[in-house]
Amino acid sequence: MFERDDDVLERMIERLREPVEMDPTLDARVMTRVSAPPIRDSRLAAAWDWLRRPRDFSLTPLSALAAAAVLAGLALWLGSRVANRASTLARPDTAVVQFVFVAQGATSVALVGDFNDWDATTTPMHPARQGGLWSVALPLPPGRHRYAFLINGWLWLSDPTAPRALDDFGTPSSVVTVGG
């Protein structure tokens, strides 16, 4: 009723062995695509080409001086910031000092002193959950440092646990001495 399986298989093998007609230009087309540059996002490619394209422009000596001064200023500013930070962190005699203040009902307490350029925004103190206790810890280099607490952004108070400093501006200040 049916052909034998071996016959079917034999015919398939013969069919597969027959030569296949191919487009004679196929090789050439494949090699062209292989050697072509990769396809890129057109906007990215345009930007990259724009950046690489040489161009001429003119600049007055005054503009060149201004540009150089801006670059030099930027370099000095960045350098001083890095150096200041590195010098404080790298000094082996720097000591971490814990500042604590009790200010019941205060909405903000800031530690302000020589060590943060008397800037009220630099070192905010952190409130404890209860008791009106505010604290912060700071690494300080050796020396005698003047400081005060600024309560709610307007009230200057000295540290009751530290020696008082003589003050030029009519507000209380304290001192902490670090190292030798």
């Binding site: 003119s58 600049l59 000596p61 060149a64 001086l65 540009a67 150089a68 001064a69 670059l71 030099a72 200023g73 000095l76 500013w77 302000v112 020589d114 350029d117 008397w118 800037d119 009220a120 050796p142 020396g143 005698r144 003047r146 200057w156 020696p163 008082r164 400093a165 003589l166 030029d168 501006f169 009519g170 507000t171 200040s173 001192v175 001495t177 190292g179 030798g180």
Partner: protein
């Protein structure tokens, strides 16, 4: 090519000029002081720098005044006064003194310590004077008469470590807080401290 030459020339010119400009004007002062006050403070700082004095504490004093909303004349006067005290401290302590020593010395002079006693302290203590000078100033601020505080610190100076001087100061302040007369507290505590440091009994010179 011509363009490159201009840029190189401009960079060199900026490099020569920029350090002087930065040295003359601290950007922190520029941000926090009005132009007139800044000019007056800059003049004091420039003079101090030329004299070889540490200027950071002068900048700090001006910033403190700005932060406390002091009037300009008061800020300038405070900076000028501190510069003079730093100069006196250097004369008393010697030209080789560190910035921290000069700043602590200036505070001691402000508190009423005599320049001659700063010189004596330098001669007696063969190490940094920062902590000793700070303790001396703090004792005076606590109410100990300047003479008594000076005698005590001079007695401790040759042998006591910095931490022992700090502990002495704290003990005196505790006694004062408990009601002891400041001069008596200093006299009693210095003998106790000297026994600990092996410095012998203190006698008023």
């Amino acid at each position: 090519m011509r363009m490159s030459m201009w840029i190189v020339g401009a960079s060199l010119a900026a490099g020569l000029v920029a350090p002087r400009a930065v040295a003359a004007q601290d950007p922190r002062l520029e941000r926090r002081l009005d132009p007139d006050t800044r000019a007056a403070v800059d003049a004091v700082i420039d003079s101090a720098r030329v004299a070889g004095l540490p200027v950071e504490s002068l900048v700090d004093r001006a910033l403190e005044g700005a932060s406390k909303h002091a009037v300009p004349a008061r800020i300038v006067a405070a900076v000028r006064r501190l510069a003079a005290e730093l100069g006196s401290a250097r004369t008393a302590l010697g030209a080789a003194s560190s910035s921290a020593e000069l700043e602590a010395g200036a505070s001691a002079l402000r508190a009423g310590v005599r320049p001659a006693d700063l010189t004596l302290l330098r001669q007696r203590r063969p190490r940094s004077l920062t902590v000793a000078l700070a303790a001396l100033t703090d004792l005076v601020a606590s109410g100990v008469p300047a003479d008594s505080a000076t005698d005590a610190v001079l007695a401790l100076a040759p042998s006591a470590r910095d931490d022992q001087i700090v502990e002495f100061r704290r003990a005196v302040e505790r006694d004062i807080a408990l009601g002891a007369p400041p001069a008596a507290a200093a006299a009693i505590r210095v003998n106790s401290a000297l026994r600990e440091t092996g410095g012998g009994q203190h006698r008023k010179p």
